[in-house]
């Protein structure tokens, strides 16, 4: 705040600032207590996932000249989901590029730019549209470092909303975690909380390899408390490490993305019946943190994977296979199971849509069935 303003101007300026903070979803109280525009390290504050993603990009754009964003509506429109709000105003046309509706074209262009030494961040308005670009993500990006015998790295991030969103129906609701998770040469990240989103996106941008960053539209507006540490410009979360969101002794729930919220809610319900769930937030699909899962299973002896994607050849299927093949199998007191989306295209009607994704009651039911209670 400028001390040179007269008291009335200062109040107006403060109110405008406060309004902008509230609009972005941040908690007002610490904002009022602050006296400057620039963010300094704060006590824990509430940040939405959307803002955390934007902050990550803002900080990395500032830090490295080679980083730039491209995608549909990312500049002038400020992002189809407003994730890139303010970035074009700050960085301009050169670094924040609006593309025509040409997914395979602009993905190829981004990968080519990465080959020539820049560090693009490609936004898909929805990962469903990335199917048009899949050839470049896999054949031009993921495989190149290997095919070239180590001559040609590709530093690029592909990000955007993945999986279910309310009312968007079949063509806009598919989860691609398993598809991209299948491919060697890619890293695939699926954040849940604001801290996840910020720390992992920063790591993804700094990573010298192709990273697929699966956000989720349901989570964009959800505020999370972000610790003081996580507000630092150098706060990174390593790709490939899961996080235990809730400790428990009776059953391990492994999940990723928006479904982690449902697991946490289900755990709260089950706690009332004396069943303590350990909820693991995978954070990264590939490389997957099997060690965290095995350590948990050693303790709880029961494993349920929970995801929004389809069951066949999915993330849960992979976890169960690895548990079978590894030391985890010996610890299990019951066969591990998967809770997944229903094996159908996503319907539109609310009742049908609700029953296509795993609900809290489905998770509770599965836990009780496994524990025979």
């Amino acid at each position: 705040m400028h001390n040179s303003l007269d008291p009335r101007q200062r109040t107006q300026s403060n109110m405008a600032y406060l309004r902008s903070i509230l609009r972005s979803g941040k908690n007002a109280v610490p904002a009022v207590l602050r006296r400057e525009f620039h963010r300094t390290l704060q006590a824990a504050m509430q940040v939405t996932v959307r803002d955390a993603i934007k902050e990550a990009m803002d900080e990395e754009l500032e830090r490295d000249e080679r980083v730039f964003l491209l995608g549909e509506e990312v500049a002038l429109f400020e992002g189809a989901y407003k994730v890139t709000r303010g970035l074009w105003k700050k960085y301009g046309d050169k670094r924040i590029i609006d593309t025509p509706i040409a997914e395979i074209g602009f993905t190829g262009i981004a990968v080519g730019a990465a080959m020539a030494g820049l560090r693009p961040v490609v936004e898909y308005m929805s990962f469903n549209f990335s199917m048009q670009s899949v050839d470049h993500i896999i054949n031009s990006a993921a495989k190149t470092y290997y095919m070239s015998g180590g001559l040609q790295p590709v530093s690029i991030v592909f990000r955007g909303p993945n999986g279910a969103a309310p009312g968007v129906a079949a063509q806009h609701a598919q989860c691609f975690a398993a598809w991209y998770g299948h491919v060697p040469g890619l890293k695939v990240v699926s954040p849940w909380s604001a801290e996840d989103a910020k720390g992992l996106l920063k790591s993804a941008i700094r990573d010298d390899n192709p990273v697929v960053f699966l956000e989720n539209e349901i989570m964009y507006g959800v505020p999370f408390e972000m610790s003081e540490e996580s507000q630092s410009k150098d706060f990174l979360i390593p790709i490939g490490k899961a996080k235990i969101e809730r400790k428990g002794n009776h059953v391990t729930l492994v999940s990723h993305s928006h479904v982690v919220s449902r697991c946490m809610d289900a755990a709260a319900v089950l706690a009332k019946d004396g069943i303590e769930c350990e909820v693991i937030n995978l954070r990264t699909i590939r490389p997957m943190d099997m060690e965290a899962i095995e350590t948990s299973v050693l303790k709880t002896k029961h494993l349920i994977t929970v995801e929004g994607g389809w069951p066949q050849f999915g993330v849960g299927g992979e976890i169960l296979a690895r548990i079978m093949e590894g030391p985890g199998f010996g610890y299990l007191n019951a066969p591990a199971v998967r809770v997944t989306g229903v094996d159908i295209p996503m319907p539109y009607a609310k009742l049908l849509e609700e029953n296509t994704l795993p609900q809290i009651k489905d998770i509770v039911f599965s836990v009780k069935k496994m524990l025979n209670v």
Partner: protein, 387 residues
Amino acid sequence: MPINVFIIIRKSQGSRVVVSARSFADLTPQASFDIKRCDLHRLDEGPSVQTVLTREDGLRYYRTMQTVRRMELKADQLYKQKIIRGFCHLYDGQEACAVGIEAGINPTDHLITAYRVHGYTYTRGVSVKEILAELTGRKGGIAKGKGGSMHMYAKNFYGGNGIVGAQVPLGAGVALACQYQAKNEVCVTLYGDGAANQGQIFEAFNMAALWKLPCIFICENNKYGMGTSVERASASTDYYKRGDYIPGLRVDGMDVLSVREATRFAADYCRYGKGPILMELQTYRYHGHSMSDPGVSYRTRDEIQEVRGKSDPITMLKDRMISNNMASLEEIKDIDAEIRKEIEEAAQFATSDPEPPLEDLCNHIFFNDTPFEVRGTSPWVKLKSIS
């Protein structure tokens, strides 16, 4: 006045032979040549119809084209002996394109092409030895044996791309990087008459024109996309016009001087911010699409023979230089002999170098990363990956 110098050569059996060799003092250091006028699209002026060739440049172009020719023929041989496996798309007949383009740009410019790539790999600086050893899948290959025929890379050279058409947006992206980094460099992005119908190419054209990317799109029209002639694949075979709003020119791709002039013209256009430009090179491949294609089910042997007889790029350059007294037959023969030796040695290396060791199997998945474990064929087999 010609000066005759007498040279005494001692042959291996001890006999002596006296040979007369002309000194190079009487050869023409440079000459001016007429080249075909290019067909133009949305351009008021095209490349010059006259060009000056120095003796030095001429010999260099000859040597490079002949090296590519001999290298490809050696690859043919090695493939038939089953020492090269899988895909092998040979470039013989099209040498004037690769050599002419390289002559028209700087080494600091960038280039990307599709799978018919051995010629470009050479002109972009990789040795014949490393190319052949990559074809034979040995550790001395340019990609350590892990890429094969279609995946060779070098500085400012991005392969080597197996998916038809994919290299075009990639090349536009390299051009974006050139513009972003403001180093006055251009990217030459090649594709064939078959790829010219790919949708992603038009997406790349649009963005390149919109953002004025310094990209030279070049269509190497060798008349056949695999087994499909251009008339059977394209509603419009005027490939130089298919960039629509992007200016284009159609060039005789069998004449290395025409290609050079056109490339210089295009590079000048692009380099100073005018945006992309499109060149169609009319050329011809002697081999089939790949080594699995004899190349005669969709075209006649007569056609192939006719091109060889009338339009061979190497013969054309040689005839030009000799008839203008810019090179002597002996010189050319010497160059040929040197090249033959170089190719033989490279082939020797390519057949005797060991394959990459099994320890290398999982390496080079990620760049600049800590080593990690990779699952082998069964859960008990744990392999290691190092950057």
